[in-house]
Amino acid sequence: MKDVFITANTIISPLGFDSETNVSAIAKEQSGITLHNNISTSPCYASIIDHKKLDDAFSKIGDPKIYTKLEKMMILSLQNTISQATFSISDKTVLIVATTKGNIDALNSNFEPERAYLPILGNKIKEFFGFKTEPIIISNACVSGILAIAVAKRFLQNDYYDNAFVVGGDIVSEFTLSGFQSFQAISKKPCQPFSKHRTGISIGDAAASVAITTDTSESEAIQIIGDGSCNDANHISGPSRTGEGLYLSIISALKEANIKPESIDYISAHGTATAFNDEMEAIAFNRAKLEKTPLNSLKGYYGHTLGASGLLEAIVGIHSLKNNMLYKSLGMDELGVTMPLNIIENTTKKELKTFIKTASGFGGCNTAVIFKKVKQ
């Protein structure tokens, strides 16, 4: 099988409009989550990208009035990634778009409701950059972003494409917020993953993108060495009590990577900060013998950015490898799960080679992808 690498990458979030700015904000323990008074029937914590800042940045490359907020975030992210990539768009380049809800705000906005169809979102992005192949759209709940990396890797390994640009994004909308409220899942304060004092999730806006290729000349390249995406077969919304699907996904990824759990230097967990999710992850990591591995959830910085989260958090993980830094799991104070976990309580420097990114979502879906830093 061919080696597949992630090269250029860009995060668009309230913490900044490129990956480096985002990672330096994380190093300073800054969070994008703030109190908002106008997004719901009552004040609510969320991580939201300012419209004006977004339009100012976007107006350098396009007309902000004809694109939705999500389209602008995704295009802005891809623009930067494409400009940094070592390959250009050919007829063997695939565009993969990952989103949970896409332009769902179009059901109740100035745009036509048809804009909510995901193929339209895919085409807007395709046309902006002149991609030559049909965009591939993945909408697999909250694993969409990280699953998109696995899909790109598999397509490149099997020669269906030469290289890929993957973009993931989701927005805070009244649609999703009201739904999570009906699930009594929204935290009354900024979310606190794995903490005993957590009371639920915060949600956030974000877009993230990466370039994926089999050909890199970087002296320190990030290789995707294994992946798995298995179902719990247990409940459509409740996380599995045994962590089954997540455990199976991790085992599948380790097997493909041909490494033992102790070779993993860092876990970028899903950590939504709901009681059942965090507990499920703790069980799965223990079953996979990863309980001693340093772990964080980045939801304290970004909130839960749905379909973007897995991709966004994988990018931060890549920068962790490159910078040899373990970033604090923001919001963590006292461990609030029944099994041991090694949560990163302070940002620390450490030699890192390999990390695993995991995510889980409604529908019982789970994904795990392992990344390795290779010197060449």
């Binding site: 598999r154 739904g179 699930f183 493909e256 019982g364 879906c365």
Partner: protein
């Protein structure tokens, strides 16, 4: 490295007709709504799975299609457990998304329903099929303008070549307002029918 795949069985449900491996087995009155059609089929098949009635139309359609398909495929339960599921459609979960949106449009009558919201994700249908048959294999849900047999072939082949799953449940399940269409097929290295994306496309377009 490419592998020659075979189709084990295929099932189509549209226009209130169910066909297996190209033969129509059940046809109901065309004027019947999808919900009524689905309910009749459930009763006739004596499925005894009360969760069915909690599902939205998209999941009901996916559930029924997979019931007929697995029945025809007669797979060993160990194989079913590790089957990969790769489904796709055009409208994602918009049919149910609109229902959720209706519950929040009026601020004086603002009661979003958790039982509706949970179905505002198209991949929930993969979850429902997985729960029913205890499938813990690979999952992916794709959205495309039309049924994209090439995309599904690429992904199903990748899963088989990368040794993630030996059998893949593939298909297209779309529900949008009053229109619905489902087509599912099981592929593996051994099976009764020749497989190519052209054959699959032909089967899909001719029915």
């Amino acid at each position: 490295m490419k592998k020659q795949l075979k189709t084990i069985a295929y099932c189509r449900i549209n226009n209130n007709t169910i066909s297996i491996n190209g033969k129509s087995i059940i046809t109901k009155d065309k004027d019947l709504s999808f919900s009524d059609f689905a309910k009749q089929i459930y009763k006739e098949k004596q499925l005894a799975y009360p969760k069915f009635f909690k599902m939205d139309n998209l999941c009901k359609l996916a559930f029924l299609t997979s019931e007929f398909l697995f029945e025809a495929a007669k797979l060993d339960s160990e194989i079913i457990k590790h089957t990969g599921i790769v489904l796709s459609n055009r409208a994602s979960s918009l049919d149910t998304d609109r229902k959720h949106q209706d519950t929040i449009n009026d601020k004086d009558n603002y009661f979003p329903s958790p039982a509706v919201f949970v179905y505002t994700l198209a991949n929930i249908m993969i979850g429902e099929i997985s729960i029913r048959h205890q499938i813990k294999g690979e999952n992916a849900f794709f959205v495309s303008e039309k049924f994209n047999e090439t995309l599904i072939e690429h992904y199903a082949s990748s899963l088989i070549i990368n040794r993630k799953s030996s059998h893949i449940l593939c298909g297209w399940v779309d529900v949008d307002n009053n229109n619905y269409d489902a087509f599912m097929y099981l592929v593996a290295e051994k099976g009764s029918y020749n497989y190519s994306k052209e054959i699959i496309k032909n089967i899909y377009t001719q029915n």
